[in-house]
Amino acid sequence: MAKTLQERRAERQLMIVLLPSLLLLLAFVIYPAIYSVYLSFTNEALTGAAARAPRFVGWRNYTRLFNDAKFWNALFVTFVFVLGSAIIGQFVLGLVSAIALRRRLVFRTLFSSIILLPNAAPEVVAGFMWISMLAGGDHATLSRIVSFFGLPTADWLQVFPLAMIIVVNTWRGIATAMILLTAGLSTIPQEIYEAARMDGATPAQMFRRITLPLMMPTILLYMLISTVSTIAVFGLVYALTRGGPGGATELISIYIYNQSFTAYQLGYGAAVAVIALLVSLMLGIAYVRAAKVEI
């Protein structure tokens, strides 16, 4: 089908306004990413003999990676972390808040402002605050709360490290889920609820039969965005546990950091990053297939 002259001109104009973004992304994200792929085939390091004369090592980094129990551990930890914090924690609490906030409550603005607060805290600051909450046995704020209720205390980051970072990341992300899901809820026409109520549907039935199905596109979009950004979470968890104890919270992002900046093995770190990218690429495609989101 031949395009009209005007259409073609319009397309060209659209390209021009997109161009600056494209150039920046190419220069500062795509190029370094491609360079990382190249690095993953070398033994490039930040220090030591390999830094002076890096060599091409073929697939060695990748074969090493598949035999590396710590890499698989990192992949598993990341999976549990994403599932626990983004897909369950943030989603459930965000949805509950979004639904509750649709009511005409007296402190509505206050509630929603407080829920937005954790999202405003920079990672480093959030890290400090949670160290004070969790670390140090009986001194920790959480221990004091728990012992106030007569329950046993623990050294939280030592005993339940993975659960704790899931709680912390949930805390940080409720707001994003709430915003997106509120937006999704607001697109459901009131008339459908009215009609269902006339038919004598209970709130639970209405939620299951109306809210959930109509929200599905929003939910899947949220899942896609939150999964991708949760895989990339680094600073918050690094500030809290540095991946420890004993690798229990070593997310893939922390594993990459430790390889690149603790062990200074840039080549190997890049190989891990490439695999992480591939895995999330597959995840992303799966989501898109499942969602059939029209974008």
Binding site: A49, A51, R242, T262
Partner: protein
């Protein structure tokens, strides 16, 4: 047409840069406010003597991130002209990477170097026989103990002769006073301290006192390594050293600043700075009469011998790719002066590497440090090699697992060996 003109212009401009003479500037990267304060007078002296402008850049981050930044810059060929390094363990690797300019000729021709302690000079020599760092300050470490607590409880304050002797003493402290008997830094959150302030003390007195073979490989499968981890294991299992605080952030705060001053921890490894910062006049929680109340033991060897650990403290080096290597080397010699050493000693609590410091009136005021300085020559040390940074991280991980009671000594050794092999490749380890 336009393009050609522009291209030509560019070419001319680029051509000019090579002939353009710039005012000479030296960039110094330093770490931590105390270090910057200590360098202030030195910087002025360098500017005056060499007729250059000195720009001091503070890299604001914890040791590890400081090193990451420095290495990123050096790797890209854009590092500062002179820099201090937070850990000596990184030096050999940086030499291998070609980041450091050799200063062997300059430093040996320099008058001031003649009066440096031999131990400092030896520590500064890299495996290839060249010197790359200015070894101007020494960290002298041994065991510090609460004389008053021991005397009150009727426990001997005599020098322990062997490891068993040392552990028996710790047990006696535990049973007689209820306090923790002995601390060796351990665990990941203590960073390089687990290696620098803990492991090294013991390994130098073990059956395999060096962990580098003659051909530069790391020898970590030795019996000594396992025995050292066994000492940790014993201290942890018998509850002789505080474990919980070491697993949290800032692991040194509770044992060193709270338990030790309160007499609830009776002995710990520490360095000369402890008399000033940890428990002395600069401390938040000082021990009154600290030099009388707190005594020192050397670290005994496994079956005898006495060891005082000597380290280079935050040595300075010259960037091999500096635009002004020769000028930077001259500035480095200034940093080696007694005046700078004393200035650092006053602010950081480390020991000047030059014997001449003893006659410096400013140094004589630091009465806590004078006797340690006088005995510095006796220091022992580990022969350095490439990969020491990795070994330090491996030791931190191994002792962390010990703290969490997940492994025995052999298991800890396996963690160390595996980590080093994974990181540096199988052929780096003997």
């Amino acid at each position: 047409m336009k393009k050609t003109v522009f291209g030509g212009l560019c070419a001319i401009l680029l051509g000019c840069t090579s002939t353009f003479v710039q005012a000479e500037t030296l960039r110094l990267a330093n770490h931590g406010q105390a270090g910057i304060d200590a360098m202030k007078s030195t910087v002025e002296r360098i500017e005056k003597k060499l007729g250059v402008k000195v720009e001091v850049v503070e890299y604001p981050a914890p040791d590890k991130d400081y090193l990451s930044k420095l290495l990123t810059e050096l790797g890209a060929g854009n590092g500062p002209d002179l820099f201090s390094m937070p850990s000596t363990a990184a030096v050999a690797d940086m030499v291998d990477a070609g980041y450091l300019a050799p200063i062997t000729t300059e430093i040996n021709a320099w008058d001031g170097y003649k009066n440096f302690y031999d131990v400092a000079k030896k520590l500064a020599v890299s495996p290839d026989g060249e010197t790359y760092v200015m070894p101007y300050m020494l960290g002298i470490q041994e065991i510090y103990y609460r004389k008053d607590v021991l005397e009150k409880a009727g426990i001997s304050t005599g020098q322990p002769k062997t490891w068993d002797d040392l552990i028996a003493r710790a047990e006696e402290i535990k049973t007689k006073t209820g306090a923790y008997g002995l601390l060796f830094p351990a665990g990941v959150s203590w960073g390089s301290g687990a290696f620098d302030e803990g492991f090294q003390h013991l390994i130098v007195g073990s059956k395999t006192p060096q962990i580098v073979t003659d051909d530069g490989k790391l020898d970590l499968n030795g019996e000594g390594v396992k025995d050292v981890f066994n000492v940790y294991k014993t201290l942890i299992d018998k509850d002789l050293m505080p474990v919980q605080p070491l697993l949290g952030p800032e692991p040194w705060v509770i044992p060193k600043y709270e338990l030790f001053p309160a007499g609830k921890l009776v002995a710990t490894t520490c360095g000369s700075w402890c008399y000033i910062f940890d428990w002395g006049r600069e401390s938040k929680n000082p021990i009154p009469d600290v030099t009388k109340v707190v005594g020192t033991w050397t670290v005994p060897g496994q079956t005898g011998g006495q060891f005082v650990l000597a380290n280079l403290a935050a040595p300075w080096a010259v960037n091999a790719k500096s635009a002004n290597v020769e000028l930077a080397k001259k500035a480095l010699l200034e940093i080696g002066s007694v005046e700078t050493q004393v200035s650092y000693a006053a602010r950081i609590g480390n020991i000047p590497a030059s014997k001449d410091a003893a006659s410096d009136p400013e140094f004589q005021k630091l009465t806590e440090l004078v006797p340690i300085h006088a005995a510095a020559e006796k220091g022992t040390f580990l022969k350095q090699a490439a990969g020491f940074g990795t070994v330090a991280e491996g030791v931190a991980r191994a002792t962390d697992a010990l703290l969490r009671k997940e492994v025995d000594a052999a298991g800890a050794q396996k963690i160390l060996v595996d980590y080093v092999k994974e990181t540096l490749g199988d052929d780096a380890v003997k």
